[in-house]
Amino acid sequence: MYRYDEFDASLVKDRVDQFRDQVALRISGEITEDEFKPLRLMNGLYLQLHAYMLRVAIPYGTFDSRQMRMLAHIADKYDKGYGHFTTRQNIQYNWPKLDEVPDILRDLATVEMHAIQTSGNCIRNVTSDQYAGAAKDEIEDPRPWCEMIRQWSSFHPEFSFLPRKFKIAVTGAAHDRAAIQVHDIGATLTHNDNGETGFTIYVGGGLGRTPMLGKKIRDFVPRAELLAYLEAVMRVYNMHGRRDNLYKARIKILVHEIGAEEMIRLVDAEYEDIQKNGALGLPEEEIARILNYFAPPAFEPLDETDTSYAEKLNGDLAFANWAKTNIAEHKAPGYAIVNLSLKPIGDIPGDISAEQMYAVADLAERYSFDEIRATHEQNLTLPHVKQSDLYELWQKLTDQGLATPNIGLASDIIACPGLDYCNLANARSIPLAQEISNRFADLDRQHNVGPLKIKISGCINACGHHHVGHIGILGVDRKGKEYYQISLGGSADENTSVGKILGPSFDEHSITDAVETVVNTYLGLREDGETFLAAVGRVGLEPFKEALYGTD
């Protein structure tokens, strides 16, 4: 994992001091709420329906036990004893008091954390594959590059007032777990024919009211030139992105309006100029320094499969069920990637108590080389666990309510904060997620249904990624009442697609029934071994429409 040196620490400290001054000016009334707004937004502090909300960055979702304990401490001391993991690998606190926020930021800084650029129209926290450094299908660990992007984009003097927020995702594996094609920039680590490392660049993806998939604008950017190339894209966007209409301000609209060809032409011209004048090529020494932080931990030489693990799988059905969904293949023999579900049946997706955070910190230290990951699906991951420890770990996770065996299943629902917190919402997301989760509580049934991603957004801003849900649910406003629209067939992996809307929306009393009808319809028509997504791809929407709305 990356560790701050004195330079990184100095920058974060300067920012904390600055914000403390700014909060003091606000509290004393020297600046108005309007003047304060851009300042707090540079520091992850939102004003929500009932209170301020603080969003803390977990850069590319990687953190350790020391940091997790601090997150727990903050939940206990400054909030109501819990935190909420978001769809962008961040954590949010819903009830901080304004005058205490500078103290929270100071506490975070002691463990190399911050809330910088988690809001505002700037380059946001860069996201990545939660299995980075552990996945079997990985080409190279993408996180060193995420860290370089984090540094380059922090306090960027030219790009802190963009037309709109800007999200970058980087992945280094064949299977895309970072949804790069629905980001403003998606970068995929790749090797060229000479075996050199570089990145394929996609630009202009995004969800929101006009969902679009990113367009490939460069096959190969050599790794040392990544930042220079990103700088070129940012400059084109900063100068040409629309500023006349909030809803057309994301880079996807620019790319859509001028076309990928023209975008490539503009970016290439800037890129050429930056290479001539900007000197943003990273020195090899600096690249090596950062790569070094992400060297793999000291895995023990183990057999591919641990015998005790195999025995437990045969002997304990509950454990086997958990292993089936919550464990992923590790690249090191004898190790496994363990997912901790933050979606216990009927609970709020992504919520975690301080007590659970402390427990996860202990377990990470004991079983996972002190590494933790936050996932964009609002769960946690312990990336490096020995197979021989899995049973013991599972028991401990079970004690903490963190072993719900539902990763990737119907009750592993992504939901945005919705009308319970968010002032943009049309409808509540969380209670609906809870209701659907309760409806599918029976685990045998969930396992029978198989992989199913249900994603819920409370409004068209799509923070719950409903467009790329196998079943997507969108809160809409109909005559002042909460309604929900269903779409089917979305996906956020390497075959990214946007779901199609089924038909008229449902009110809060019938939406869960409708979801169940959709699932039952699938069960009735699926072929052998066919997943929900594959079935929708084969049969289209018609059978589902018929089941929901009749044939008339």
Partner: protein
């Protein structure tokens, strides 16, 4: 409104001419439109000439005429409109503009360091921003992560030197 130039209060000796106003022989700032429609007249004038660029008016339009101007004002119609950050950097870095580059419009104290970093050396500010405030704000962050057009060495360079 006050003018801070190279860190100190300065008198504004420039006249901002609108597009119809007759020009005097005093130092005068004109719009891009006027520059483009009266280029020859303005070039043959015998007094310092300045140029106003609003957001949306890229300096690309004057790339070949940079030497004509002793002052370029880049306007921030709203603090959120960050186009002029790119314009400033292009003027300094790409087109080699070395004279006064002034930020006008919605210039907030929290943005002074960014503006300074992309090449502004003069700022039209409200009365709350004094040279003392300016000095404090412009060195808020003691380190920088990226090269720009100021003299700061980004940390990756410092690290390699160490």
């Amino acid at each position: 409104m006050a003018l801070i130039k190279n860190g100190a209060f300065a008198d504004d000796t420039w006249i901002d001419a609108n597009d119809n106003e007759a020009l005097t022989d005093q130092a005068t700032v004109v719009s891009l439109h006027r520059w483009q429609s009266e280029t020859d007249v303005l070039k043959s004038r015998n007094a310092p000439l300045g140029l106003r660029l609003d957001a949306g008016e890229s300096p690309e339009a004057i790339a070949d005429d940079i030497d004509q101007f002793d002052l370029i004002k880049l306007n921030f119609p709203a603090f959120k409109d960050g186009r002029a950050y790119s314009y400033a950097r292009m003027l300094r870095q790409r087109y080699g503009y070395t004279r006064e580059l002034r930020a006008t419009g919605n210039v907030l104290r929290s943005q002074l360091q960014f503006m300074h970093r992309v090449g502004f050396d003069a700022f039209e500010v409200d009365e709350r921003i004094t040279p003392e405030v300016y000095a404090e704000e412009v060195s808020r962050l003691h380190e920088v992560y990226q090269p720009s057009v100021d003299d700061e060495h980004p940390v990756f360079e410092k690290r390699v030197k160490k």
